[in-house]
């Protein structure tokens, strides 16, 4: 059984046909990387899985998306869906609130008010995101005082607080320095023990390092989807070969 599934998906931004007949299944407790040149549709597909594309006007979606074999557009409430399928964005986007309030945000949305439970949950989430040691004792400081890499891990902690089973990451390290990037990658490796991670990346070394399977997109089409090892060493498609060797124009 797939954790996430897209079946015969077509997506239009107004006149633009951004995703062309895409079908893909993502296995539980794995890391799947989406790669491809800019504008190939990989972020668009990622954002379908928690319905973030609903926020963009003039978007038309055909086909079916499933989480645990349930149709996410019909069988699941969109707000519940987004708590189960968390998202981390390209640019760290903590709220201009305290570190504590950032992590507690999703819990409070869910109506949790008990101070002790909130404190426990916040600590647990920060530990999962490997940030606890750096922010212990300063939870009441503004999140904006953290460095870029810390902010991004804070955003991951925030997403993990509602205990999602899937984490979508849209180029989570592209705005970070190499050390922060390495920390995020280590974190992804830890996370896949308990949840399913889908990551969009422009960095092919990163895809090769962190993912079990890799999907290559080009001009809105899914060109190849295979084990990461196989895709990078022995791709079946010529387009994939050209892209990963950097010969793509």
């Amino acid at each position: 059984m797939y954790k996430l599934q897209a079946k015969n998906v077509n997506l239009f931004y107004g006149e633009k046909h951004a995703l062309r007949n895409i079908s893909i299944g993502i296995e539980p407790n794995s890391v799947t990387a989406f790669i491809g040149p800019s504008g190939c549709g990989k972020s668009t597909l990622l954002r379908c899985f928690n319905r973030m594309n609903d926020l963009i006007e003039n978007t038309k979606i055909e086909g079916e998306f499933c989480l645990d074999d349930k149709n996410i557009y019909e069988d699941i409430n969109v707000y519940a869906l987004r708590k189960m399928v968390g998202m981390v964005f390209q640019k760290p986007n903590p709220f201009p609130k305290t570190i504590f309030e950032n992590v507690a945000y999703g819990l409070k949305l869910g109506g949790l008010k008990d101070k002790r439970k909130l404190t426990d949950k916040v600590e647990e989430s920060l530990k999962k995101a490997a940030l606890w040691n750096e922010v212990d004792g300063m939870l009441n400081k503004s999140a904006l005082a953290l460095s870029g890499g810390q902010q991004q891990r804070l955003c991951i902690a925030r997403a993990l607080a509602t205990e999602p089973t899937v984490l979508l990451m849209d180029e989570p390290a592209s705005a970070l320095d190499p050390i922060s990037t390495a920390k995020i990658e280590d974190l992804i490796y830890e996370l896949k023990k308990t949840i399913t991670v889908v990551i969009v990346t422009h960095n092919m070394q990163q895809a090769a390092r962190v993912s079990n399977k890799t999907a290559f997109f080009y001009l809105g089409e899914l060109i190849e989807f295979d084990e990461t090892n196989k895709l990078f060493t022995n791709p079946a498609e010529e387009k994939t070969q050209n892209y990963i060797t950097g010969r793509f124009g």
Binding site: M52, L55, L81, N93, F95, Y105, G106, C155
Partner: protein, 287 residues
């Protein structure tokens, strides 16, 4: 050839610099003379009794107690009315209704309203509140009229502040499973609060100086008591000053100058608070 050209350009550059400097100095000079004149006229009249005395037909015994109290209560009710309506209207226009024609129509009208002369608001207030609603020349009628006057300022400031909240923050909130209302109330409005506050204070400092609409709705120039409720008659500092300047006796002109000093000081303080808030907010919101 080239040398000559460069020299000419440099000369032009210098000339422009002096013209600009001249304009600035001229503006400051006029302001300086104005302030000097007022200070010279009114400073000696400013003592504690000036603040605590009731109005009087003896200039040296007259004070601004009732005018200050009237202005305070007037501002209180004005803000009480204008604030919730103005902020919610701004939030609606920016977050909910930007794409329908009704909202566009409102938007254009609000921009126009901000440019309507204040005396027109006075006429509207006179007909609507004083006569039709039967409030008379009460504090409430004055507050409602001023509320109409400053509402466009609050709406525009709210919209600008909300527009400045980065899209990425909204996405973060929606991505956590927040509804539109949760996102607006927990992320967007708090993030925009600095800008909204600045707008509120600018609105207050505009209301502080208004005289014309209050004269039109019939605010009294001589009120020997402090208003105790929204139905009482009232006066305000600008009206008191206006009244004093129309008196022939020299001593009342001195009173007017002293009143102007107080009014200038209040406006100055309000603007300083607005600037401080705005700076703090920009620092906090920087990414």
């Amino acid at each position: 050839m080239m040398d000559q050209y460069l020299k000419n350009q440099k000369r032009k550059d210098k000339a422009f610099q002096y013209v600009a400097l001249g304009c600035t100095v001229f503006a400051l000079l006029v302001l300086g003379i104005l302030i000097w004149d007022i200070l010279a006229g009114g400073l000696r009249r400013l003592d504690w009794s000036f603040f605590t005395n009731l109005p009087s037909r003896h200039a040296e015994r007259a004070g601004i107690k009732t005018a200050l109290a009237g202005m305070g209560s007037l501002l209180f009710f004005t803000i009480l009315i204008a604030l919730p309506i103005g902020i919610l209207a701004g939030v609606y226009l920016e977050e909910y209704g930007t794409n329908n024609r009704f909202a566009k129509l409102i938007e254009i009208n609000i921009a126009n309203l901000a440019g309507v002369p204040s005396v027109i608001y006075g006429i509207l207030g006179l007909q609507l509140f004083v006569r039709t609603a039967g409030m008379g020349n009460s504090l409430m009628a004055g507050a409602l009229t001023l509320a109409l006057l400053v509402m466009p300022v609050i709406i525009v400031a709210t919209r600008e502040a909300i527009k400045a909240v980065p899209r990425s923050l909204r996405e973060a909130s929606y991505g956590m499973g927040a509804t539109k209302w949760q996102t607006t109330s927990r992320v967007v409005i708090p993030s925009a609060m600095g800008g909204i506050l600045t707008g509120i204070i600018l609105a207050i400092s505009r209301a502080v100086g208004e005289t014309a609409p209050l004269l039109v709705i019939g605010a009294l120039v001589y009120v020997p008591f402090i208003p105790e409720g929204p139905h009482d008659q009232f006066t305000t500092l600008p009206i008191q000053i206006f009244n004093w300047t129309t008196r022939p006796q020299e001593a009342f002109v001195v009173n007017a100058a002293a009143g102007i000093i107080v009014l200038l000081l209040i406006t100055f303080i309000l603007n300083a608070i607005a600037i401080a808030l705005r700076n703090r907010w920009y620092k906090k919101m920087r990414y």
